[in-house]
Amino acid sequence: MTEENYAIGIDLGTSYSSVCIWKNDEVKIIENDYGYRTTPSYVAFTDSEILIGDAAKTQINLNPCNTIFDIPRLIGRSIYNKDVQSGMKYWPFSVVEKNEKLHIRVKYKEEWKDFTPEEIASLLIIKMKETAENYLDRQVKNAVITVPAHFDNLQFQAIKNAGLIAGLKIIRIINSPTAAAIAYGLKTKAIGKRIVLVFDLGGSTCNVSLLAFDCGIFEVKAVIGNYDLGGKYFDDSIVNHFVQEIKRKFKKSLSKTDLCRIRTHCERAKCKLSTSDCALIEIDSLLDDYNTTLTRAKFEELNEDLFQSAINLINKVLNDARIDKTEVHEVVLIGGSTHIPRIQKLISKFFDGKELIKSINPEEAAARGAAIQAAILSGNKSKKIRDVLLLDVNAFAFSIETSDGIITSFIERNTTLPIEESKLFKLSTKGSSYKDTLDRNPKNNYNILIQIYEGERYYTNLIGQFELPISSSASKIEITLKLNLNLVLKVSAVEKINGRNSKINKKEITINNGLSEEEIERMVSEAENYRTEREIIIQKMQARTDFEIYIHRLDRIINDINNMNMKNKLEKAISESFTWLDNNEEAEKDEYERKKKLLKETVNQIADETLWRR
C-alpha cells in the first residue's frame, strides 16, 4: 500500500456523517474536533464564515434560512423530483432552479449566493477528510463513500463530483446497508454460508440489503431502497395528529415557527416511546402552554401503514433474490428508527419469531464497512482482509429505446458488477416505413436515436441519448452497455455491415449528470477559496485566543507583584488590552499578533523601568 493509494471510508448520511480508517489491522472511527464520532450533515452560511457539522447544527434556530441539511435528498436530482418537492414544503432554506439545475440559495457574507448540492456535499466531505487528516497527520487523496440504497446513477455521479470538488477521488460508492453488512460480517467471522438481511431504517430512508456471507466473500443478492420512509415521516404523522387536535379544540391555526417547535417535541416524544409506554408533550407559550400526552399505542396506530410498508420492502428484496424467508440466517438492524419496538416486533414476526441482531452500532457500521473496502482497494495486505471481497450489484435496471419507440431491457436489477451486455438490433430492409421516418443526414445516410433509461415499469428515467449515423447498406446495429464497479455507465453503438463492425459509424457515450469539466473546475477552485477563508478564520481565532491567554496569564501574575508602581502600570496595560479585545471582535490575525507583541514589549519596558529605578 502506498501513500498515493491510501483511502478512507466516509458515510455520508442524511442526518449524520462519519469517517473511518483502517489502521493497525483494524477499523477505527475518527472523532471530530468536538470529540464526537458522528458529525451532523449540516452546512451553514453566516455573515462572516461557513460552518460545517456541529457548529452549523447548533446555530440552526438563529439562522434557519442559511442552514442546509438533507443533502442526500437533493444531490443529483431535479427540482421537479417528487421527493425534492415534498422536502421543499418544510425545508427552511430555499431551493431554486438555475440553468435547469437545482440550486440552494443562501445569504453568505451579506450577499445572495446559489450553491449546487454537489458543492454543499463537498463541504461535508471536506470536513470528514480534514477530520481524518488531522488524526493521520497527512493528506488523504482517496475515499470509499456510502450512500442510501435508492441512489440512482445520476446521484452516484453527483456524489463523485462532490468528492472531486473536495479534492478527494471517490474510488468506490457502496450502499450503506451493504457497507454495514461487511462491517458486521468481518466482526462475527462465522464459518460456512449464511444469508444475512440488513434492515436500515434511518431519518428519511429505508434500505434493505440481502447478502450471502461465505468466509470473506460478501455476495450481494439484492438491494432495495425507499426514500418515503423513515423517522421524519413518523414525526409527520404525530405532528399532523396534534395539529388536527389543536384545530378542533382551539379553532386556531398555527404559524411555521409553531409547527417547527411542535415537530421538535414530537420527535423527542417518539424517541421516548421506544422505551416507555407514554410520553408527555409540553410546549411552552403555545396556546397557554400546551400539554398533551402520546401513548405508544396511539403512535403505533398513526404509523401502522408506514411500518407495514417497511415490512413490504423486506418481502420485495426476498422475492427479487428468489430466497425464502426461512433461508435467512440473520437479520441485522441498523439506523436510528429501528429502535422503535413495533418495527422490531413486526420484523421478528415476519421471520417467525426470529431474534434480531441489534449489537452493531447503527451510526458507525456503514463507515466501518467503507473503511474495510477502502483498505482492500488501496491494496492493504493485512491477513484479516486478504480473502475479503465484496460482490456488489446494481440497484437499478437499464433499458434502451431506439428510434422506433421500442424499449429493450438491457441490464436487470441486482446483476453482479461489473456488467457488460451487448445486443444486436436488426434494421428493417423490406422497404418498411421505418427508415423513411428517420432523419436523413447530409450524406444521405440515416440517424438512429438511441435513448438510455434507468429503472423499469413504473419508474423510468431518461439518463442519456445520442444519435448513431448509419449507412444505407447496414442491416444491423449492436448496442453495448458497460457498467463498471464505480457505477459509471458507458453506452456504445456500432453499425454492422455483413456481420462486421463499421469503422466509421460508431459512437460511445458516458452517462454523466451534466456538470461539465469546466463547472467542476470552477467549483474546485471555489472550494479552495472557502477552505482558505476557513483557514484564515481558524488562524484568526487562534491568534485571538493566544492573545487572550497571554493577558489572563499576566492578570494572574500581577497579583503576586509587590511593587505597586509596576503593578499599577501593568494593570493599566492589561485593562487597555481587554478593552481593545472587546471593541475588536473581528480583527485580523496580524492585528491580534501585533497587539500581543506590543503588550509584551510594554510589559518588558515596565519591568525594565521599575527594576532599573529600584
Binding site: L389, L391, T408, T416, P418, L424, F425, K426, L485
Partner: protein, 110 residues
C-alpha cells in the same frame, strides 16, 4: 455472438457438480479474477499474470455469468437442456451451433 458459453469449464467443475461445489468454485474464481482483487503481474491469482485489469474483468464477468446460471436450479436445468439439444444438433452435422441473432432480435425493429 450467441455461442452457448461453457459455464462448467469456466468454473472448472464437472457437469455433475453439486450446488455447494459450484459455490466453492465461484468463490475461488471470484477471488482470483475480480478487478478489486486481481493485480496484473501477480502470481497469487490462478489466472495468467500477464492479463491486464481489463482482461481480468472480462474473465470475472464470465465467471459471474456462469455462477448466475448454474447456482439457480431452474436456470441450470434450462441451460443443461439447451446445451444437450445443441450437442445433439451438432451430432446431426448441423452447420453451426450459433443461434441466429436475427431470430433472437429480428422482430425488434420490424
Amino acid at each position: 455472438m450467441d455461442t452457448l458459453p461453457e459455464y462448467y469449464a469456466i468454473l472448472e467443475v464437472p457437469e455433475t457438480a453439486t450446488t455447494d461445489e459450484i459455490r466453492e468454485a465461484y468463490k475461488r474464481k471470484a477471488l482470483e479474477t475480480h478487478p478489486d482483487r486481481y493485480t496484473p503481474g501477480s502470481k497469487d491469482s490462478g489466472i495468467n499474470p500477464r492479463l491486464s485489469q481489463e482482461e481480468a474483468k472480462i474473465h470475472f464477468q464470465k465467471v459471474a455469468d456462469a455462477y448466475f446460471v448454474l447456482s439457480d436450479k431452474e436456470r441450470r436445468a434450462q441451460y443443461d437442456n439447451t446445451r444437450a439439444s445443441r450437442k445433439k444438433r451438432q451430432g446431426n452435422s448441423w452447420q453451426t451451433s450459433q443461434a441466429d441473432p436475427d431470430q433472437v432480435f429480428g422482430d425488434v425493429f420490424e
